[in-house]
Assembly symmetry: C2
Homo-oligomer: 258 residues x 2
């Protein structure tokens, strides 16, 4: 099993605090040490650009992870993953998140869980490069999304499409995932996923995995709003809301979309 | 105009020496300061994995470029680009190299030059995310490659296909480019591109753009072989071979393929 971290923000926000705690789970406070990755949407126009970092070294010791902890990349949509290999060897081509382009937008996907006997028919334009059940599921999702819409659908339209597609994968096993195209963050839980929305008035937060606190009131502006989705709560003094099994949620502008 | 750097190696090699000199051209020894990028193929099986770093900051000062100079990532195929914007604003989505997946392989592309009035018909599965002539050309190449082959062709087969496709783009302007799928490095010159093959017996090389020398004899093994392709010679004491205008060359295992 792996761990997931997603951020969806109203204003570009740096993920260094959340990522610092999360990265400790890669071998220090937990055993997810078989590679990791993080993707940040960013760009001059509607966050179309993407920074994508993956490394087969544990996130707790990787020089690339060290860069991420120190270089405050500001983004409205971030997806990170630390890997405990279940299917596929420890190798760069098996590190999440995975990226594909569709309709002139990058799509980023990371998965936690294990799909058993999952061999989707991939007759479309998305083929896995590595050897994970996760990348197969992502390619199948992209293939079916491409069939359902001719161009980038609205967030709500795509949510409806995903609600039809996701159960067809989830019946094969545990399918907790995060998906983003820079406009929204979609999150689905089979088992473990929880979220928090941070907004004004901001308070102090203390990481679960590292001796580190931050007083968001000193760093955030009243207009800021950030939703964090993660496998297990990142902080000890905030209330995290668990997903129900089978629940698909979508976050836009730092808040859960009703 | 921009600058290109490509490495094709028999054995996984780190690009830190070449990249150090090349990155100086982003604002220090030259004026290509509108973003940069680098991609490294790497992975457990046939170099299928890919690390892709881009930044809109100049390569001479970017914290990500600093990481690349210090973290010796070993790869058999590397493509790097520093950008002087001609079309498209300075933004992450316009930074080269660009990446797409086709036939279960990542493809990496970087372009130097300017294509005038270039509006290819992109009716296939590859659409530009940013606003450059370069990404349009890459999407068109991928679309036409996808039509010409059902799965990853051999290096020689793909070279033949590219020799048919590339002139159709090159007639629109300057089209110096590098392309790799991790198995080979294809390079095409309209104007400026030159290459060198380094092999046993290795000698000392001195960078043109930085006060830095390396004695490859101390670092390389007799079995190593590296081809370097670049817009302008990187070193002062080696003989670089210029491409003829319109020439497409392909490098495999660190040497020019006849």
């Amino acid at each position: 099993m792996c761990q997931l971290l997603g951020l969806n923000c109203k204003n570009p926000t740096d993920a260094t605090f959340s990522f610092s705690g999360f990265a400790q789970r890669a071998g220090v406070t937990d055993h997810h040490a078989d590679g990791w990755g993080i993707a940040f949407f960013e760009g001059s126009e509607q966050d179309r650009g993407l920074r994508h970092f993956i490394d087969h070294l544990p996130a707790s010791t990787s020089p690339v992870a060290e860069l991420i902890r120190k270089y405050p990349i500001k983004s409205r949509n971030v997806i990170s993953h630390i890997r405990k290999a279940t299917q596929g060897v420890v190798a760069l081509e098996n590190c999440h998140p995975f990226v594909r382009e569709l309709w002139g937008r990058y799509w980023v996907f990371a998965h936690n869980g294990n799909l058993e006997n999952y061999e989707p028919r991939l007759h479309g334009n998305f083929k896995p490069v590595g050897h994970t059940d996760s990348e197969q599921a992502f390619c199948w999702l992209m293939q079916e999304m491409a069939k359902s819409h001719a161009s980038v659908p609205s967030v709500d339209e795509l949510t409806l499409t995903l609600k039809e597609l996701v159960p067809q994968i989830a019946k094969h096993g545990t399918f907790n995932f995060l998906l983003s195209n820079g406009q929204a963050l979609w999150a689905h839980a089979s088992t473990n996923l929880c979220y928090i929305e941070r907004k004004h008035p901001f308070a102090k937060a203390t990481l679960s995995d590292q001796d580190m606190s931050i007083n968001f009131a000193e760093h955030a502006s009243p207009d800021d709003r950030v939703a964090v989705v993660v496998t297990a709560p990142l902080t000890t003094n905030e209330v995290w809301t668990p997903f129900a099994p089978g629940e698909l949620k979508v976050f836009v502008d730092g808040q859960l979309r009703a």
